[in-house]
């Protein structure tokens, strides 16, 4: 199947899913009991403000017309306004997304660095010490509440050992010159090593917390696929023809494992980029998740629903990218 057809088919799927996603957020704002105008302006607003909102949202119109209006707004990039920050939500989110991207990407890299090699190793040496250890760590990683893990890490590395800086924001030093919005990357680009150290120091604990939580399912999936592959006919065949073990693992098994594992990676990355509410909250990390929590605390609903919508869209988008990448790499679909 040609790439163009494949991509357009996946895009069509994504559009359907987006339609569903927008429907869900729409239903949550409009159809649930209570006058949604109060959701938007807050419960303390006076009647004329409420009337204005009713007018603007077309709440006096049919549900169908309201939905069309809602979609039209979304398409023009209008996510509504936050009365807490008195900014358009799109502006607020634009300012905070780099923080989430920086944290999520670092966490993903750290998670991949420990979980995939560990998963492969434990699959190769079944019932060995490293296999048991992998089992224990991944079991713990799936079960541990991530906000509590973050607190424990703070207790150890900030409260007790004093190795980590206070969990307040993205840097305690200078903010590096803005290029990408990712402080560590910007600092490297500007060759500002002080700023890099300050930003990386803030990043390390929240990223490690997420890396453990996200790495656990990655480890399980990697180990599962590796075991399956090592028991497959073509590996038995390659062994029986004298291919050295090193090549069996690296050349014959690994590509067959990494393809399916990358799907899981995409799911995890989509989740991380959508804002990791709990960890951002614990470490006062000014990303999308923290923005949502702060808005909830102020009963400011529009930003929360915008964050929900955007994280779902991000997830779908990352998933789509991985699908397309698969299509390009995997010989079974490529030819």
């Amino acid at each position: 199947m040609p790439l163009a057809i494949y991509i357009s088919r996946r895009l069509a799927y994504m559009l359907v899913a987006l339609f569903g996603v927008s429907l869900v957020t729409f239903v949550v704002t409009r159809v649930l009991p209570g006058n949604p105008a109060y959701l938007i302006v807050g419960a303390m607003a006076d009647e004329s403000t409420v009337a204005a909102v009713v007018e603007r949202l077309g709440l006096d119109q049919s549900i169908y017309e309201q939905y069309v209006r809602y979609i039209r707004q979304l398409l023009s990039g209008d996510l509504g306004d936050s009365w807490r920050t008195s900014n358009p939500v799109s502006v607020d989110i634009g300012a905070r997304w780099p923080a989430t991207i920086e944290l999520g990407s670092t966490a993903l890299v750290l998670a991949l660095a420990w979980s995939v090699p560990f998963g492969i190793l434990s699959a190769l040496r079944r019932r060995s010490l490293s296999d048991r250890l992998a089992n224990a760590v991944s079991g713990l990683g799936v079960s541990i509440p991530e906000f509590w893990l973050g607190l424990i890490l703070l207790l150890i590395f900030f409260g007790t050992l004093e190795w980590a800086p206070a969990p307040i924001g993205r840097t305690l030093g200078e903010v590096p010159a803005h290029t990408t919005g990712l402080y560590t990357i910007d600092a490297i680009l500007a060759r500002d090593w002080e700023a890099f150290k300050a930003a990386a120091a803030q990043l390390i604990l929240p990223a490690s917390t997420l890396a453990l939580v996200v790495g656990a399912p990655l480890l399980r999936v990697t180990r599962g696929f590796m075991r399956e592959t090592m028991a497959s006919h073509h590996i038995r065949s390659a062994r029986a023809l004298g291919i050295p073990e090193r090549s069996i693992v690296l050349r014959h098994a690994l590509p067959n494992v990494l393809l399916p594992v990358s799907t899981m990676v995409a799911i995890m990355y989509g989740y991380l980029l959508g804002g990791t509410v709990l960890v951002e909250f614990v470490f006062a990390w000014p990303g999308i998740g923290k923005y949502a929590i702060d808005s909830i605390a102020a009963s400011d609903s529009i930003p929360v629903l915008a964050a929900v919508l955007l994280s779902a869209i991000t997830y779908l988008f990352v998933y789509l990218m991985m699908d397309v990448l698969h299509f390009v790499i995997d010989p079974r679909t490529r030819t």
């Binding site: 899913a17 869900v24 703070l154 605390a297």
Partner: protein, 283 residues
């Protein structure tokens, strides 16, 4: 000659006792025993302990013989509160997971069985729901409604329905055209009878394992919602809310306030996940 293996007499393996009673089998699984213990503590523990809201003489007292887990910033005994909280957390987890099963399983089975447009529609809707990060979606709904425990249960159940729907659907699908189902169909049995009598019993193991995982998940969501301040509020004893209450003290040395309720979450969730593993790999 005779083929004697190293001169060892081989052990004659007994035929497996397949029909050993299910209860006896479960009791031989360590995680299941631990789970039973946790449930028993939740049910009967509070009768042996005081009021979880009772104030003591000291605030933020370190763990001691009087207060095994120490006291919190309101001088309440943390051990008493952790045990009391087990009731709420387990109950919410169980009911939410049960509601999700009750809604998701029949829908998933029906989707697989009916196929066609009905199947496609359900699948697309659940895919859309699954694109949302669970916690954020729950947060979004909570903000639109006022948070109370029944609302929380409904929300946690709702975000879990697609999991069951898809799980049951994929488990049922290969069975739909299995010979025994076709036979039942030829015998003129109705759709629902076939589903209930012939198909669902065959997927119950997968669903039981997933149920255990989902109770764990529901407890995690409840704790997380309470932790960020939209779920259960202090002073009601609930693990997530208690961790939130102790979070600020963590870095100033009063680690016990947040540590013990967090450990309770970890232990319960870990046990439930292990039970799921035992169901999957057992029998």
């Amino acid at each position: 000659m005779t083929a004697t293996a190293d001169g060892q007499a081989p052990a004659v393996s007994k035929p497996p006792r397949r029909r050993a009673r299910a209860a006896g089998r479960l009791l031989r699984r360590p995680a299941f025993v631990v789970l039973l213990l946790i449930v028993l503590i939740a049910l009967f523990g509070p009768f042996f302990l005081g009021d979880p809201l009772e104030l003591g003489p000291d605030t933020l007292a370190a763990p001691s013989m009087q207060n095994w887990f120490g006291t919190d910033q309101f001088s309440m005994d943390i051990f008493t509160r952790v045990v009391h909280a087990a009731r709420l957390d387990l109950l919410v987890g169980f009911i939410a997971a049960a509601l999700a099963v009750l809604a998701g399983m029949p829908l998933g089975a029906l989707a697989a069985y009916r196929g066609g447009a009905f199947d496609t529609l359900l699948l697309r809707v659940s895919e859309s729901l699954q694109a949302f990060p669970t916690l954020l979606l729950a947060l979004g709904i909570v903000t639109a409604l006022s948070p109370s425990i029944p609302v929380l249960v409904m929300i946690i159940a709702l975000v879990n329905v697609p999991v069951y729907l898809r799980l049951t659907r994929s488990a049922v699908q290969p069975l739909v055209n299995a010979d025994f189902v076709l036979a039942a169909r030829c015998a003129g049995k109705g759709q629902f009878t076939i589903l209930r009598r012939h198909v669902l019993p065959n997927v119950s193991e997968v669903v039981f394992a997933q149920f255990s995982v989902n109770v764990a998940w529901a407890i995690q969501i409840l704790a997380a919602l309470s932790f960020v301040g939209v779920g259960v509020k202090l002073p009601t004893p609930e693990w997530g809310a208690m961790v939130r209450g102790g979070a600020d003290y963590m870095i100033y040395g009063q680690w016990w306030v947040a540590l013990f309720p967090g450990l309770a979450i970890l232990a319960t969730v870990l046990t439930l996940n292990q039970v799921a593993d035992e169901i999957r790999h057992g029998s």
